[in-house]
Each structure stands twice: as C-alpha cells, then as structure tokens.
Symmetry: C2
Subunit: 158 residues, 2 copies
Amino acid sequence: MTDPSSDNTPFATVLNRSLGTMIPTSASMNIEAIEVRPGFASMRAPFAGNGNHFGVMYAGVLFTVAELLGGALAWASFDQDRFYPLVKDMQINFRAPARSDVISQSTLSAAEIERISAEALERGKSTYLLEATVTDVDGTVVATTTGTYQLRAHRPAG
Amino acid sequence: MTDPSSDNTPFATVLNRSLGTMIPTSASMNIEAIEVRPGFASMRAPFAGNGNHFGVMYAGVLFTVAELLGGALAWASFDQDRFYPLVKDMQINFRAPARSDVISQSTLSAAEIERISAEALERGKSTYLLEATVTDVDGTVVATTTGTYQLRAHRPAG
C-alpha cells in the first residue's frame, strides 16, 4: 500500500483505494474509512446488505467495522516499512440493536504510539490495547470493543 | 425458516437453504453449515475470498463462522415458534494464523437446553454462555470464542 506520508492525500482516501483488495470482507460489507490519521481512525458500515433476519445489523459486521480500525490506526501511526500489526483477541459488547449505518472510531495516544514503536524496535514486538465504539446515526452506542493488538517488526529479508 | 423437525431432512441442509438470505454476510463469506442438531452445530468457512493482505484468514471471518453457531444451535435446540436468540457479547482469542478452510463447532448440553427453555418460558428470557472452537484443516485451533447469548420469548402479536 502507498505510504500515507508520501503526499498530501488524506489517509482515508489512500486507504479506501486498497482496503477492499487487501481485505475482501471489507468490500463485501461496503465498509469505508471516514477519517484516518496518526492516533485516530473512523470507519463506516452501511446498513444496506449488512442486516439479519431480525432487521438489525449483523453482529459480524459490527465486529468487523470495529476490528478494521486496528489495522488503519497501525498503518497511520507506525512506520509500515518496519512494522505490521496483529490482532490477538477482542471482546465485543453488543449494547443496542443497530438499525442504520454505523460509524466506528478508536484512538491511540501519542505517548502510546511512542511507547509501542520504541518497544517494537527494541524487542521485535509490542502489545497494546485498543478500545473502539460503534454508534448508529443517532449517536447511540450499539457496540463497544476492546482488542489486544501486537505491533511486530518485519523480519530482515533473506 | 422451515421448522427443522417437520421432516427428515438434515438440519444443516435446511439451514443452508436460507442462511444466505437471512444473513447476507454469511453468503459473502461462503459460510455453510456442516452439521446442526439439538445441542451441536458445526460450520465451515472457505479460505478462498476470506483472506487478508498477510495471507491468512481475516479476523472478521473467524469471528463470524464462530458467532453464527449461536443462531444455528438456538434454531435446532429451542422451539422457534416461541423463542429467538440474541448475542450480547463475545470474546474471541486468535490462537494461530489460519491458512486453510476452517471449521467451527460448539455444543450445548441437554441440561442447559432444558434450563434455558424453562427459564425463558417463565421469565421471558434466559442468558447462557456458548464456547466455540475454530480449527484449520490440520486440526490446529486457530480461534476460540466465548459468547453470552440470550434466549427471548416472542412477544404476543398485537
């Protein structure tokens, strides 16, 4: 994927160009990045095509629109030539039925970004938590997640 | 959906006829039921089309192939004219990268089925836990989940 720091195109635009190719599931769900920058990521999943037989958004879509933030945040916040992210576990709480498009968002503080980068550089990996919220168009929180991610250093080629 | 107890067709066959219509996400992921009966459910997600840019199955697919078991188990185990299931929360642990088709499975004991049915009949709802495992074609456990579900009684019409 293009280095987001190489020009002035918003990170979300760059990400949306390749997200569906990298993760076909995101394309099937028509999930798109709204805003992505170091320390912040937000995505949207449309209601259309993502429901279930009870007329609410399917749980797996709510999970995905939250989980994808981890990759987006890592891409925008860390040196992608050196590191890549892994998700180790995730807890999702379904707080209300979602009957509209939903928006997910998550943050990572500058201090955490610095800690994680330094640790991954020194030890080859660093573990961190990400909390995310998913809200409907009225602002009602429909799901919250807490995920454990790991930033890993690429192994030297050869 | 057709009542699974109305003929001798295997539950999984009946479920696969309508799963993709009920939950389009399952069709996009080409997830299918392998075996479904009271107290037991197993499903498969193919690797093709469900990967990510690291060459392993995407986390949201592993979540979905496990989460869908909750609906399948409830459908086969409880009186669907009286009850419907909800997922309240789920914890998923990613234990190994999945590089092949995966199979999920979960069980619910006869005693638990009886307890949940009785409680939902009496109080209108009953909470229960489901544990699921997701394995690759070599039998390696790639993910485990623990979900909190609730069986709810349909409200009287009108």
